[in-house]
Subunit: 373 residues, 3 copies
């Protein structure tokens, strides 16, 4: 089928899958004060192998070769012997915030909203080594995990640790009607000063950070609290998330609080609905009603987002940024998507910490071709 | 079969293939003026996944781990819905010159002729991000593409752009009789000075460059024009190509013209013919008449090449090099090949720009073991 | 089955396998004089493709992405047309010492004994480019090879060369009764001074080297001689190895001799026997009698090791280290293993060459989760 290569034993106890994704992007920036530049890149080029052995032992191994880097995305062992409870040990994505937990393949926009940069931060982490315990019902999920640092921080002295939890509940969870509520908490404690910096791209990967806290010295811990709300109503869908970040520091240094939020909405002109996965508490693959190679025109989706991040508090002058995005997605088949985004980004001011401190008012145009196999 | 692992759906609309290649090389240089050194290396170690979904959507993802580097070779999406026209979007090889477009697996010699270094140049590019439109008949091909920079130049300010086109025509295109004519043009325009340098190895990968232009400052654009001629006459084959390069510079700086050409010939002692692919305008896999594991001795091929590159013009003193190569190829099976090459290289003088400026007269011996799966 | 994905042609002449391994480790060090630190890492994350074509031509291509590096482990061509003699050309593991030749998947302890650091040394090499000829009988193996430098030393001036040989004999070679004897020799000659340094981790990968010779200048060659003894007696097994290293130097510099040895023993509480492979002269996969997903508790193994390395001789003050290890292995299925090790390491003194020169007395705790597919 369209999910790469899948082989299964007759009794279904053994499964093996090889798959991957390719995302080819171009960004064009209409700059204001700062030189921004344009460019094209392979945003993601991933290969994965996953499988199940003796029914209850799973694994996933996923590499990303995009962005001129070689990175282990997933390398974990899964134990599914106590259903519906599963244990996941190894390098994995932390299921924190709805947009982060939803695959980048099935995001509504080219890049996740600004607040994702809190999680993606090198000292916080979206993918880490650890143990996760998760369970779910028909319309709810609950999980907790304990995570160390990432596979890219291996070796000596990677001693920070982080408990993380998330619960989701969907009072409505039908194919074309969804109401999703979620909340998550993620705490990280540092044994060594992580030289914490929060900064954000204006939702275009090639364009550099416009807001940045600079190094927040003597950081001891960080607490992230998030709230999620999302709905599907036939071809219409809407979603909003809020993230609050509290940084703890040593020696009575002032402790800043930051936050970010976004609201987005979308509409399938061709009648599809966004695909909610209640047992995972996230969205999945869009299946067009009529695909291009079978006489149809695929699925077309219009979407809008307003997104903001505030990196100014208690003496940290990291800047405030607000972005408005309009997007058009074309799902030619369940595996092939093309996208165009227009982003209007304003900073007021941009980061003073980073030595800039000027208000920016820029326009960015991004396009993507994507195939998932 | 021998093409790695191929899985196909019953209706043929879905295909999936995993394959790769391993090339193990050793080079021994008999030096003259400059310290050259010898050594062994994994020249190429590639893994690829390619496939077709819903009949008209194709993809290819190929990584190379050889030469101590990790590189994306191909990462593209292909649309085959308007046959014989196909669209290829992403990181891909530019079909420019016959020897470059022919896979390194099925080259007659260990390394491509000197003129290939014009295309392989970091600022020009044999593999780039872009969109290619190609079509073909029974004995002709035509294609045009627009390319940016490569996947290894991702990010900000990779803003050079390049249209490229190639046409081929084969008045004779039978299994054992071929006459191929081809012409191509490749233009690249730079938004930022690329610090262009043309330089060439003496057709042995481990041996360092003997000729080099040094940095050609303030380069604005480059135009490459190539002509191809190739023939197969039973077990005999011959081929020649010429490449002309014109560099445009800013501020009335002198604009140099460079060129290179080669002629080569080969003969299958065991009676095979070189395998021409008319719909692609290039050569493919050699199938021995009697393979080694089935009582035969595989295919044996003797070959000779004369190749030259001229990097001296208009104040640029990059040197002139001429190489003579004699080669013996043994195709034990369609997948396994062993090769030995003797290269006599002369420079007259070698690069003055690179601060050498002495005539070299060297002998190089190279061997390879190759498996393609 | 549980060996990744295997596809075979009807006549068995063509085989193709995709597989891999993931090892997730954590180390906790209870330090003495030196700051040691703790941490978690992906010890190994490997993907491999191997196969056979036309019955007698084999290949293996294995990448490791663990430890934040991308490394070619194997990239070779195998000729099996003169059974039982096989030829292996390319990047491969040198079959030197029993514990090194036994896969890291099926080691009794988390890390190989201290003496392995002689072979793993950057200037010696456990995996190198070369040609190996091997043969075997029912209860013996013999092989010889000639190796250059590794795939990670590619290019110019990688000109050291090394003959290597090993013989093994098993007077008893039954499923539950084994007596194995082995001997090997490995000589390496350097064309250029390799800046040879011998150093060793205390059998915990994240913990830094405690003993080190520092650079042994003007090294001309090195000779390694090893002896092996191993036995299986039902659920009980025992093994010991000794390795002697002689360094040759130029200009009448003093030539040091180093050595290391270990003895280890283990017992399967659940009755399994260690799996000896007489045709390969090493140990393989443990198959638990009753696996976890089928009502059993897997295989449980208790093991102990004493290991030492002496890097002091003839003016080289590299230190002496002795480790005692106690280990518990749980093989939940033939593919999934969890392990805990306790290591007590003493140095007396630690390396003076490395500028330390103090006696260390430390405790280390290590754990691993492993899946092999």
């Amino acid at each position: 089928d369209y999910k790469g290569l899948t082989v299964e034993s007759a009794d279904g106890d053994f499964k093996f899958n090889v798959g991957g994704r390719i995302q080819i992007d171009a960004n064009f920036a209409d700059e204001d004060q700062t030189r921004l530049g344009s460019g094209a890149e392979i945003r993601r080029a991933r290969l994965k192998v996953e499988g199940t052995m003796w029914k209850i032992w799973g694994y996933k191994f996923q590499m990303d070769f995009g962005e001129e880097e070689t990175e282990i995305k997933d390398a974990y062992i899964k134990f599914k012997g106590l259903k519906p409870v599963t244990f996941t040990l190894g390098q994995q994505k932390l299921p924190f915030t709805l947009q982060s937990w939803t695959s980048n393949n099935w995001q509504v926009f080219q890049e996740r909203a600004l607040l994702n940069s809190f999680i993606e931060d090198d000292a916080i982490g979206r993918r880490r080594l650890g143990l996760k315990i998760s369970t779910h019902g028909n319309n709810w999920t609950a999980l907790a995990g304990l995570f160390g640092e990432g596979a890219d921080h291996g070796g000596q002295f990677n001693e920070s640790w982080a408990p993380m939890g998330r619960v989701t509940f969907a009072p409505i969870a039908k194919a074309t009607r969804v109401l999703h509520l979620g909340a998550g908490a993620y705490y990280r404690h540092y044994e060594h000063d992580p030289e914490l910096v929060f900064s954000a791209h204006p939702e275009a990967h090639i364009v550099p950070n416009l807001v940045s806290t600079g190094v927040i010295s003597e950081t001891e811990d960080a607490l992230l609290l998030g709230g999620e709300l999302s709905t599907v109503w036939g071809p219409f869908h809407a979603q909003g998330e809020y993230l609050h970040v509290k940084v703890g520091r040593k020696n009575s240094l002032p402790e800043p609080n930051f936050n970010g939020w976004y609201v987005q909405t979308g509409y399938f002109l061709t009648g599809e609905s966004r695909n909610y996965e209640p047992a995972k508490g996230r969205y999945g693959r869009i299946i067009p009603q009529r695909i291009v190679s079978q006489g149809g025109w695929g699925a077309w989706e219009l979407a809008f987002r307003y997104s903001t991040i505030d990196l100014e508090d208690n003496g940290i002058l990291g800047g405030v940024e607000s972005n408005f995005t309009a997007g058009l997605n074309w799902y030619a088949t369940p595996s092939v998507m093309f996208r165009a985004n227009y982003i209007h980004a304003e900073t007021n001011p941009s980061s003073i910490a980073a030595g800039v401190g000027i208000a920016e008012d820029i326009n960015i145009y991004t396009v993507r071709g994507q195939i998932v196999f």
